[in-house]
Chain length 305, copies 2
Amino acid sequence: MDEFELISRYFDRQQGASGVIVGIGDDGAVLAPSGDHDQIQVIDTLVSGVHFPADTNPADIAYRAVAVNLSDVAAMGGRPRWMTLALTVDDPNANWLESFASGLFVAADAHGVALVGGDTTRGPTVTVTVAMTAEVEPGNALLRSGARCGDAVFVTGTLGDAAAGLDLLQRNEENKFLTTRFLRPSARVATGQALSSLASAAIDVSDGLAGDLAKILQASGVGAEVDIEKLPLSLELCERFNAARRHSFALTGGDDYELCFTARADAVADIPGITEIGIVTESPQMQFRLHGDVVEVSDSGYRHF
Amino acid sequence: MDEFELISRYFDRQQGASGVIVGIGDDGAVLAPSGDHDQIQVIDTLVSGVHFPADTNPADIAYRAVAVNLSDVAAMGGRPRWMTLALTVDDPNANWLESFASGLFVAADAHGVALVGGDTTRGPTVTVTVAMTAEVEPGNALLRSGARCGDAVFVTGTLGDAAAGLDLLQRNEENKFLTTRFLRPSARVATGQALSSLASAAIDVSDGLAGDLAKILQASGVGAEVDIEKLPLSLELCERFNAARRHSFALTGGDDYELCFTARADAVADIPGITEIGIVTESPQMQFRLHGDVVEVSDSGYRHF
């Protein structure tokens, strides 16, 4: 099967989607952006054996490739609209592609994103790049740089599940909730849009809370104090791992794709599914406290001073 | 060096570019599209060992990755504005990245395209994906589907040089002109923009004239007759290869990144650097003639019936 047959059989499903003048099948897509909006563009790549185990189900690979881009869009407060796909596969057989396309469209359809173009290539390593375009009211894009002293620090959902899920996958152990949190992360798109006019700064938690919050603080020129016991943890995580492990997953584990943001606490009182975990400080340090004591957080977890 | 240092050292050069509200360094780029324009989006991937020899100079790899996207934009008649880069490298050392970035910006700066974001990942195979956004007057995007019976068929520049250059590179032979035509293709962006309101259909010649013209004809529901002796060939190609080889390179060689388009001949009389090679016919066949005789073109060249 050549590239053109592949594309039309598995990927050309969204002609007629909103704002799509010409979709898949020409040299490029032709789109009609909304008048008087800013545009957000993101791009993310997943490489087999690096970002997911080589034996991952193709549907999960595709779902995740879309979700990590949706998560970047969410962290900017955008409404996702269109995406293009660059897919490198070693052996583009029908079963693999059908599974891949099914996961891709489950993730995209959930947020109304149309696949408008792409490039399929052969190569020795499965590599999936999605480029996504979103829109936002002029001036409302959520940046990392707006955190102010006195803002509260929040996160969405629960932290640490994805890293715990990956840990289980790598040891061939089962916990459907935790492994699904790794394989099929939920991008917080609706919450990001709701926050776009309310939060002062935001980032998505892809590298781990400690590292990603540090990027907000650095970009904003401020610090923060975070209470570890306030971190929202799932019951599944707590039942499976002891306090030290679950705190380590939550602080440094990565792959959560929750949002971490700063805001005046009263401004976001009506937003569901968020947890206040700390406060922005003038002093540019990032301090984590456990039961009142300052602890040091590193890639391998945390320790008491 | 971690990803953030890499990005800022080698790629974060274009803050303040036209229409860029927030460039590299946040979760996504924030852009200001021109009001009342259609937008064109393209994406293309180059894989080491598949699309370029593994020992290709990183500057040439990057130049080419930008150029193939510019060529898609040219084929749509667009004005290129912004691009994002997904770069997978096995060993991101400073020399490699510095060379890569230099080639990238040479290609981008020549057409005023700003690099507004990206993702750098580690992986075993060097893989470069560029996603590019362009703008065009509403309704003026050049599609493959508008060719009409009686239109003339044109190409820009000369054909076959790139395939001849690749052939020489693979045999370790030299001809700077021909190898440069492969390594550093010139995307016909200005010509594409000039044609956007004049041509009836267009495509860029990436897979070879015969295959790419066939796509225009299929999308338009028409046929064409092309005179092989009218194909524009460079002096360098003619001096190095006999008639059969050069015609084969020109018809099926690929990688030219010239434009093939259809138009009323009088409508494009003032466009420089184009050659009329044939005519669009009502009968849906694609016929190639050499000295008046119909010849059959296949991947391996052509033969007389």
